[in-house]
Symmetry: C2
Subunit: 412 residues, 2 copies
């Protein structure tokens, strides 16, 4: 497991931090000009009335920006900066190599300044609010908004006794929560990855659409999904968090967020201070979040109707929190978050008896041994499922597909 954690750290670091090195750490390469199919279309998640960024049928990304007085402009995506070229009107254009299908963070670099692209919508990831682009995938239909009965994605603030602060989360309610006003529902607690926060599953994760569409097809039963943030610092502690990660990340999401946001009330500004894998967040989940949800909403409050899942660091947190609380969650999902072994489970009294389904997934371009791990658990009588997202890496399309698979196993 240690090896997997280290490899996850490396992956997360590549995808979330080093990707946008402060000071322009990524190598600059020429814009792609050969064998480019000129069928570029505006990305599906551009700001309205913006033609750029665009994507072509080869999944190349083309960016454009007016910067008449600049001397160099680059498209910073997937760990490379593609140098863009200027036309006679001062407009710069550049094209990347083909990208994996799905969602990617990116940014522009203008004369050494790393900035969001004014043409894109903005997302939280790679430890900042900034540009993201949707590269079409063959199966993207499953997360589109469709004219089916709609649930709601709700923003909720609550008081945490652990951090002694107000915290912000999202709660998805299925359509039936509103139409069947006496029914109680199961709950999934769903976590983000490193350099991300609770906005990930609500926005680029398209959790509400994935659920609404599956419920309409009767492939998932209706349940509530609570999407919180791993950023949780116990009251009275300063700095710290994240063990080995902390020191490597000046400017990452962290410890002193609070000192820099003297007034609360900014839903996207970050409320907590410091990520702590499993530890402080586990406390917040068990002592604050679950009781808040079970008190305020129509919830079936027993382990058989409680699930936890997460991506990358959120998957590792799911592993540690469910092992530390083996009789609390019957359904467990780890998306690009490593594996659980039989030894882990046998060391956690009650885990095996409580568990109804255990799901482990990763992208086809990752190598996490999820199929083998699931096979081993199945032999021991555990209802384990492995899943590989074909053609994708440590990115959101892997995790959307993983959620799509996992929620179909839950509460059945």
């Amino acid at each position: 497991m240690k090896k997997i954690i280290l490899s996850l750290m490396a992956l997360a670091t590549v995808s979330a931090y080093a990707q946008f090195g402060r000071g322009g750490g990524n190598p600059t390469v020429p814009s792609v000009t050969e064998n480019v199919t000129e069928d570029f279309k505006p990305a599906m998640n551009n700001q309205s009335n913006h033609q750029y960024p665009m994507v072509n049928s080869q999944r190349m990304v083309r960016a454009q920006i007016s910067a008449p007085n600049a001397t160099s402009v680059g498209l910073d995506i997937d760990g490379k900066i593609y140098s863009m070229t200027k036309n006679e009107n001062g407009v710069w254009t550049g094209t990347s190599a083909p990208q994996d299908p799905g969602f990617h963070y990116y940014q522009l670099n203008i004369d050494g300044a790393s900035v969001p692209d004014p043409g894109s919508l903005y997302y939280y990831g790679a430890s900042r609010w900034g540009s993201g682009i949707e590269v079409p995938s063959d199966d993207q239909d499953f997360w589109q908004v469709k004219n089916v009965p709609q649930g709601t994605m709700n923003e909720v603030y609550y008081y945490s006794s652990v951090t002694e602060k107000m915290r912000h989360c999202y709660i998805y309610f299925p359509n039936e929560y509103y139409t069947n006003t006496t029914k109680k529902f199961p709950v999934l607690y769903l976590m983000h990855g490193m350099g991300e926060n609770e906005h990930g599953w609500a926005e680029q994760g398209h959790t509400a659409q994935i659920m609404d569409n599956l419920i309409a097809q009767k492939k998932a039963v209706p349940f509530i999904i609570v999407i919180d943030c791993l950023d949780a610092q116990p009251a009275g502690q300063q700095g710290g968090g994240m063990g080995g990660f902390g020191g490597q990340r000046p400017g990452g999401p962290s410890a002193d967020a609070q000192g820099q946001a003297p007034q609360g009330g900014q839903r996207r500004g970050g409320f907590g201070g410091g990520f702590m894998m499993g530890g402080a967040f586990g406390d917040v989940l068990i002592k604050d979040i679950i009781p808040m949800v079970e008190k305020n909403y129509r919830v079936i409050a027993d382990p058989q109707h409680r699930a936890m899942a997460g991506l990358s660091m959120g998957g590792m947190t799911t592993r540690s929190v469910t092992l530390a609380n083996p009789k609390v969650f019957a359904y467990v999902g780890m998306f690009s978050g490593g594996t659980i072994s039989l030894q882990d489970i046998e060391g956690a009294e009650g885990y095996k008896e409580t568990n109804k389904a255990l799901f482990m997934s990763c992208g086809g371009k990752e190598n996490m041994g999820v199929m083998e791990a699931a096979e081993n658990l199945k032999k021991a009588g555990i209802n384990a499922t492995g899943y590989i997202s074909e053609g994708t890496a440590h990115e959101w399309h892997t995790w959307r597909r993983s959620l799509y698979q996992f929620v179909q196993l839950c509460f059945k």
Copy 2:
């Protein structure tokens, strides 16, 4: 009234469009360096772990960005571009003149490129997702997140029979909607201004916090608030919208958004196509939104429990929609949105009998005659209220304060 509409057009144009002229229409002025009090603090709505932008006690804004190879960098706020200066490390810093208290859109200009500031959170306004900054105000406490019973701000998609598309709105439910599961609630329909969309009241407007805090103080009764988007183009129509505004705004929010977003499902990308004051949106409100809300949620579905309000263009839309549907809304609010005359009301059969409260407000730096208009209506037996937001102009702090005042009048 025509004069007021024209002056509103001018105001809206200044505040939303011309403010960020494409091609750098704003005049460049030197950064402020004299009589600057050096007590700058990070703005309260910065991205976590970002020191800049900052604000000082004189309400000056100071921006900073690393752009080592740039030759000119400017801070674009309030219709001016303040030229920033570079230090030996390639970091540019600049300071604006004092700003009004409250929330302002702004951007940076790097060698001719207008881009969001990577240090700020992003908001929709001035027809783009981009930077916004909170300048502290003496009374900002009323919209902060506090440890009081929390309502929820919900994202909802619904099908519009008028536009034949899925649309996105926000719905605020007070805490009591969840704790008292048989009670039905009144509803306020609340509209944004020009160059904005439904995200405005949910994010920079802090509607949920304003309501939660007032309800906790028993200064407002609990009710539902539906926040939709004026962008509504009837099925089968292309282009158009907005009458006289349309032609002036290449690149504004508009008509062909759909053609540029071939795949749906982007909550912030804009679903409709073309703003139509009163016209198409009025249809969407009456035929789609109100029936959807009254069907799906626990709502008291009569005129005495229905309110409509809006800011600027949304206030003008409130005026036109309520005059065109005089027996539908008992409570009416226009924030920086002009006035209603006795003649208007007497020309709309049933308006006077249906109305329980009529609220008109504007900033102290605007001149909209709201106090005189309210006085005239009061003499005719209408429960009209005028309100002036001291020291603010055509901006969000005027509208937050207006909402704070208006909701205390509603449904009592």
